[in-house]
């Protein structure tokens, strides 16, 4: 028990400095970005003198460490500053766009787990069969395809040539009444058939594209995890004792294999977050990824700081949660 608590404390203790380091890193890089932030705020019709005035007014001419201190102070109160481009509060922008990315990422994760794990298990159980070879081929290829290209090919095929799905954006009719911000859920809860159908159609291609890499990874790891367990001695022993294979599989194989799979969830989440940026750009999906891309392109570094911090925070938190869950489930991991 002691070891577990120590492990918890250690992991949580790493949490804060990691986030702080992240903040410093991103802040430093952002302040070096070319493109005058004061000019952005001043607007395109302002003269050079007006821009200079605004620069002083907003404190962009003060030394870096002072700017950093100000930023951290504001951060603690939840103020992420104002977008240099739109003048809106960054926290508000993030809040508004978060549900879109959440919906996309959750759906992609859902697809990966629902398809990837069974594929991995089946492939391992039916080793060296046609199915196994197909799945192995699929997983190796899945990690070699550029996700944005896959998205574009799917658009070309399913949207442009077959006319089955829309090309992009989240919905083609009026958005459903907001309860959670997830269109599919909200449409279902408010019994809005048109919105449900439209949002599902719009979600299909982006989620499928996004899930591809993590699906392949998940299938791969599940397969190897199952194979690992199957070949362990105690399984051999159980089977030799006459236990029906189905029970052996369900009782031992699955549980042990799934443990190694759960470790991948944290990694997968990072994959999905990273993939979201480019998928949202391809499918015009109005989430955090598109926001991050647009902010970077516009040199809107208040927005960049905000979105990078948010994604770093979420990623670190998810990994922490995964570690905690793992230690509870499998104490051996605490030794690592």
């Amino acid at each position: 028990m002691d070891r577990k608590i120590l492990f918890f404390l250690k992991r949580i203790a790493y949490f804060i400095p990691t986030l702080l380091g992240l903040l410093i890193l991103v802040f430093l890089v952002s302040r070096v970005i070319p493109g005058d932030p004061a000019a952005l705020v001043a607007g395109e019709t302002a003269t050079a003198d007006q821009v200079k005035a605004i620069r002083t007014q907003l404190g962009f001419d003060r030394p870096l460490y002072i700017q950093f201190g100000v930023y951290v102070r504001q951060l603690v109160t939840g103020d992420l500053g104002k977008s240099l481009y739109s003048g809106r509060r960054v926290s508000q922008d993030l809040f508004e766009r978060f549900p879109a990315t959440l919906e996309l990422t959750l759906t992609a994760m859902f697809i990966s787990v629902l398809v990837g794990i069974p594929l991995g298990i089946l492939s391992a159980l039916k080793r060296n069969s046609l199915l196994d070879h197909l799945v192995r081929g699929f997983t190796v290829s899945g990690l070699a395809i550029a996700s944005f290209w896959l998205g574009i090919m799917l658009q070309l095929f399913a949207s442009m040539w077959l006319g089955l799905t829309p090309l992009g954006s989240r919905i083609g009719v009026s958005a459903p009444r907001v309860i959670t911000g997830l269109f599919v859920l909200d449409a279902a809860l408010t019994l809005n058939g048109a919105a449900l159908l439209s949002s599902l159609k719009h979600l299909l291609l982006p989620a499928l594209t996004l899930s591809f890499a993590s699906l392949a990874t998940l299938a791969r790891f599940t397969r190897s995890g199952v194979l690992d367990v199957i070949q362990k001695d105690f399984i051999l022993y159980e089977r030799a004792m006459g236990l029906p294979p189905r029970i052996v599989v369900c009782k031992y194989v699955l549980r042990n294999a799934l443990i190694s799979t759960v470790t991948q969830v944290g990694l997968l989440f990072g994959l999905l977050l990273a993939g979201a940026v480019v998928i949202e750009a391809v499918f015009d999906w109005p989430g955090l990824g598109l926001y991050a891309y647009q902010s970077i392109v516009l040199s809107d570094y208040q927005a960049i700081l905000g979105v990078t911090l948010l994604s770093g925070f979420v990623y670190v938190t998810v990994n922490l949660a995964v570690d905690v869950v793992l230690t509870l489930v499998d104490p051996r991991k605490a030794e690592a």
Partner: protein
């Protein structure tokens, strides 16, 4: 499933697309038929007009955001004292019934019409006009750059309930022309709200009097508005009850949405291939109108080697205008060799300008006194593929006369802010000058007067005292005929100095669903004013 996809793709190469669609598409077509019809019917049948926008709406505040795309919100949700209509653009009284000029162009008095209302029922008075102008000047964004040099807040006087007078710092003949860039905002609704002059509140809300009232707004997706029944102009005949301006970034998506009927109209400056696709579609009508939107390559006239007129002339001779206009743009634009659109008064009719002539280019280079010892940087704009094409063609031409050029893409906000400072201003960048207001001042006055240095339009950093004098006189003389002669003369000198490389004047190819009637195009607004529209 994946294998089948790969196989089908292999088949596409040898088999025509039609056959491919027939074999694979039949089942899916049936499926899509079931899914699509309710949504399609919804989009077309109801009285809601949907327009696809290429960019986002960062703010709904008409005094903050001021670019060509967001003209749609200023035209539909707000009113101006005077407004441009039709093509060629005519300035019409709108909220104002009449105006008068005194003191040789220094005092402008506007008389408002009586009984015009804001969306919340308040009457539009001269006080509101005064507040709106003070607000525009104080916020310093939007179209304030047009007014700031000539007007101080102290020069705005309310003469009576419906009469407002503007006393300018100096005589300014185009003052009436810039009135349509200035929106009237309801002070009672904006005062006291969050942000300087309520700008944080107005960024997501409605403070106007226009034909439509803002209903829903989301920065990433767009906005919807409902008809304002008590609009001062009244409503005759057929009209649309609801309008939506939806953000669809990708060109291909907008075009597909047009063809499918998800949207009824979209921007009229699409790539040529997409225009052709829309023209072929039986449900889409593509209107063709001569617009006023010059495409040009800017050159930094104060930075070597571009500070030598011979180098600039050489560059002007090294761009293949014909190939670009004929091959890439399929002849759908008009060559415009000078700074003012050919279809506007002030552009000299006999101006020949530069042609693609490598021999002449090399001859000019030989006369150059400045050494070209570094590659010139050309900046096309991110998201505007045509500027990439122009940059490539220019780079290729320059290479043939021995000038090395690097292409680096930058965004419009970055370039326009860099262009304010002589040190950070680009070597060469490519953009358009659209019709913000229909006066030569918009193209030549703001661009080539040295007094306008510090604004992105003047980023060629051109300085010629003779031209300065001509443009100053043209700006202050009230007589249009005299102004015309001055602008023509200035044009000729500027072209001779090869201040920039002017390429073409745009034609507007506005795609509209066939069921939409009443489209009224004006180079200001690009067909986005919805009060004239109806579903036939």
């Amino acid at each position: 499933m994946r294998k089948k996809r790969e196989e089908s793709r292999k088949n596409t190469k040898g088999v025509s697309r039609r056959d491919f669609m027939k074999t694979v598409g039949i089942g899916s077509l049936a499926l899509s038929g079931i899914h699509w019809s309710p949504i399609k019917a919804w989009a077309q049948g109801g009285s809601k007009y949907v327009w696809g926008c290429p960019s986002e709406f960062q703010s709904m505040d008409p005094h903050i955001i001021y670019d060509v795309t967001t003209e749609n919100l200023r035209l539909n949700l707000y009113d101006h004292l005077y407004r441009y209509l039709d093509n060629p653009p005519k300035i019409q009284p709108w909220l104002a019934e009449s105006y008068s000029v005194a003191d040789e162009g220094r005092k402008w008095t506007f008389t408002l019409r009586k009984g015009a209302k804001f969306h919340n029922g308040d009457e539009i008075t001269a006080e509101a006009v005064k507040y709106s102008m003070e607000r525009l000047l104080a916020l310093g964004k939007g179209s304030s750059a047009l007014f700031k040099p000539i007007l101080d807040p102290s020069g705005i006087n309310v003469k009576s309930r419906y009469v407002v007078e503007f006393s300018l710092k100096e005589a300014y003949a185009p003052f009436l022309s810039i009135m349509p860039t200035f929106c009237i905002v309801n002070p009672k609704v904006v005062e006291g709200k969050a942000g300087p002059w309520g700008s944080e509140w107005l960024a997501s809300n409605d403070g106007g009097s226009g034909s439509y009232i803002l209903e829903k707004y989301s920065p990433g997706t767009g906005w919807t508005a409902k008809r304002f029944k008590d609009h001062w102009m009244g409503w005759k005949g057929n009209f649309v009850e609801e309008i939506e301006f939806r953000t669809i970034h990708e060109t291909a998506s907008r075009v597909m949405a047009m063809i499918k009927g998800d949207i009824h109209g979209c921007d009229g400056y699409l790539p040529v291939d997409q225009i052709e696709k829309l023209e072929k579609d039986p449900n889409v009508k593509v209107y063709e109108e001569q617009s006023m939107r010059i495409s040009l390559i800017r050159m930094h006239n104060q930075r070597p080697p571009l500070n030598d007129v011979h180098v600039r002339r050489a560059i002007s001779y090294a761009f293949d205008y014909d190939s670009f206009i004929k091959d890439v743009l399929k002849g759908r634009v008009a060559r415009n060799p000078g700074p003012i659109p050919n279809n506007l008064w002030g552009a000299p009719k006999d101006l020949k300008g530069y042609t693609f002539d490598l021999k002449k280019a090399k001859e000019e280079l030989q006369q150059a006194k400045v050494k070209i010892d570094r590659p010139i940087v050309i900046n096309p704009m991110t998201g505007y593929a045509q500027t990439d094409d122009i940059a490539l063609i220019l780079q290729s031409g320059l290479q043939q006369i021995g000038i090395k050029a690097n292409i680096v893409r930058e965004t419009w906000p970055n370039l326009s802010s860099r262009g304010k400072d002589m040190n950070t201003s680009p070597d060469m960048w490519i953009h358009w000058i659209s019709t913000y207001y229909a006066d030569p001042e918009n193209w030549i006055g703001e661009t080539y007067s040295s007094s306008r240095w510090g604004a992105w339009k003047a980023s060629s950093w051109y300085k010629n005292p003779e031209v300065d004098e001509l443009l100053k006189n043209a700006r202050t003389t009230p007589d249009q005929e005299a102004r015309r002669k001055l602008y023509e003369q200035a044009s000729r000198i500027i072209v001779n100095d090869a201040a920039d490389v002017w390429i073409y004047n745009t034609k507007w190819y506005g795609p509209t669903r066939k069921e939409v009637k009443g489209m009224r195009f004006c180079p200001i607004g690009d067909g986005q004013e919805c009060r004239w529209l109806s579903f036939g």
